[in-house]
């Protein structure tokens, strides 16, 4: 059985893969996975509601999109985690990131990393989603700037670009 024990400093030692890099670190028992990721410098994952309602903190854990604010940091033990930084950057954006920018889906941008991670999860599972598939998948990612129309368009553009590859 795996056992995570507290060390002398009162921290729990864990190991996991973050965006392809092996991480060994110590976490507080009540630290959230979101706090840990941001502490490690991956600030693209946003802290919004902190109650699992807004989706700003969405990351992909072992291929599944989840909200990191509801998870304890020690949950990461042995897992493969991808954050928005793991998809691409300004010089080499992922097709989903490019589609969001090109379609004008981004206004203030705070919710976008979470939306993009959920979109990645959706397109990995369903490469040709219908409008209702997209709405159903993005129902946990809230945006206070837009009316969601452009985001749905962005997902469709991203899907067609990825399918052409």
């Amino acid at each position: 059985m795996k056992k995570l024990l507290k060390n002398k400093e009162g921290l729990i030692e864990i190991g996991f893969r973050l965006n392809g890099t092996e991480i060994k670190t110590s976490v507080k028992p009540n630290e959230t996975l979101l706090e840990l990721i941001r502490r490690l410098g991956y600030k693209g994952t946003k802290k919004g509601c902190d109650t699992g309602d807004c989706g700003s903190c969405t990351i992909i854990i072992d291929g599944i999109a989840k909200v990191s604010c509801l998870l304890p940091a020690f949950y990461a033990e042995g897992k493969e985690i991808i954050t928005i930084e793991g998809l691409g950057d300004v010089s080499n954006p992922h097709p989903i990131q490019k589609a969001y920018a090109d379609s004008g889906a981004v206004q203030c941008g705070f919710c976008i990393p979470g939306m993009i991670m959920t979109t990645k999860f959706l397109l990995d599972r369903k490469p040709k989603p219908s409008d209702s598939d997209i709405k159903h998948a993005l129902d946990g990612n809230l945006c206070r700037c837009t009316g969601y129309v452009k985001q749905i368009e962005a997902v469709k553009i991203a899907a067609s670009k990825i399918n052409k590859k």
């Binding site: 999109a65 304890p72 959706l122």
Partner: protein
């Protein structure tokens, strides 16, 4: 939670039984547990059960069997759940919160933490489902109400849904005044077995009313084995509506929920009676 000394991650039930204690917090999908116990200073141990082999959906003898660690997303997208009960299980699961929560919340957790708005207890009660639980030494089978009497002493390992209701008529809906007025939500989960002009069996369950699902064997008895032309749909609907009203009388959406219940029950009965 800052006083946690050990996090156990058992890989099988045998390992789990060696660390299972009433004092430890069992954590699965974590949508409920972590935030609820974040400030608990008494907590010394966590048992993270995510690695237990309880994530499956299968057909076994006369049941659809769902492992306790199956998420709402697993159930929603399961071929078996789409195929049986006219997709009732799959459809009901799709109503759980958002995609991100459906990816995390488990069947076991949804049943283990009684909350009026939870979907799985309502679904289980509608389908007369049973729970297979582990008490640290042996397995046993419990009804939902028996489980709630001893829920702190056992771990849910799977839910068993009898296939004898496979060809019943089903209805599942969560209705609210607006999507954001969560206090107005009410869950309707109905099943009926109608043969020619008679009701063989019927179960009307209401969620979001009290901590555990609400249904009335007395009102159901009034309909069973009777010719549908002798059943006064308006009268039955009113009885259900009154039941909801009395339970939630202090609720600010009481009138709304009462009216919605009346109309929904009436609509369902009229539909199954072909009126």
């Amino acid at each position: 939670m800052n006083n946690i000394k050990t996090v156990y991650i058992p890989q099988n039930i045998k390992e789990f039984s060696s660390v299972f204690s009433k004092k430890s917090l069992i954590m699965a999908g974590s949508t409920y547990s972590f935030k609820s116990f974040e400030k608990d200073k008494e907590l010394k141990e966590i048992v993270s059960i995510n690695n237990l082999p309880l994530k499956y959906i299968k057909k076994e003898s006369n049941n659809i069997v769902i492992g306790a660690l199956s998420t709402f997303d697993d159930i929603e997208n399961s071929g078996l759940c789409k195929k049986h009960f006219f997709g009732f299980l799959s459809h009901a699961s799709s109503y759980c919160s958002s995609q991100l929560i459906r990816n995390m919340a488990t069947l076991g957790g949804n049943i283990a933490h009684p909350n009026a708005f939870n979907i799985m207890p309502v679904v289980m009660e509608t389908l007369n489902g049973k729970l297979k639980v582990f008490d640290g030494k042996k397995y046993k089978i419990l009804s939902l109400s028996d489980y709630y009497n001893e829920r702190n002493k056992v771990l849910i390992t799977e839910a068993m849904i009898p296939l004898k209701y496979d060809k019943n008529l089903f209805y599942f809906e969560k209705i609210s005044r607006t999507k954001t007025s969560w206090e107005s939500y009410i869950t309707f989960s109905f099943r009926a077995d109608v043969k020619k002009t008679k009701i063989n069996d019927i179960r009307l369950v209401f969620g979001s009313v009290k901590a555990v699902p609400l249904y009335s064997p007395e009102i159901e008895k009034e309909m069973v084995s009777r010719d549908i032309k002798d059943i006064n749909v308006e009268e039955i609907s009113k009885k259900y509506s009154d039941l909801i009203y009395s339970v939630a009388s202090s609720h600010k959406y009481s009138e709304y929920r009462k009216e919605v219940t009346y109309n929904t029950v009436k609509g369902f009965l009229k539909k199954i009676f072909g009126r």
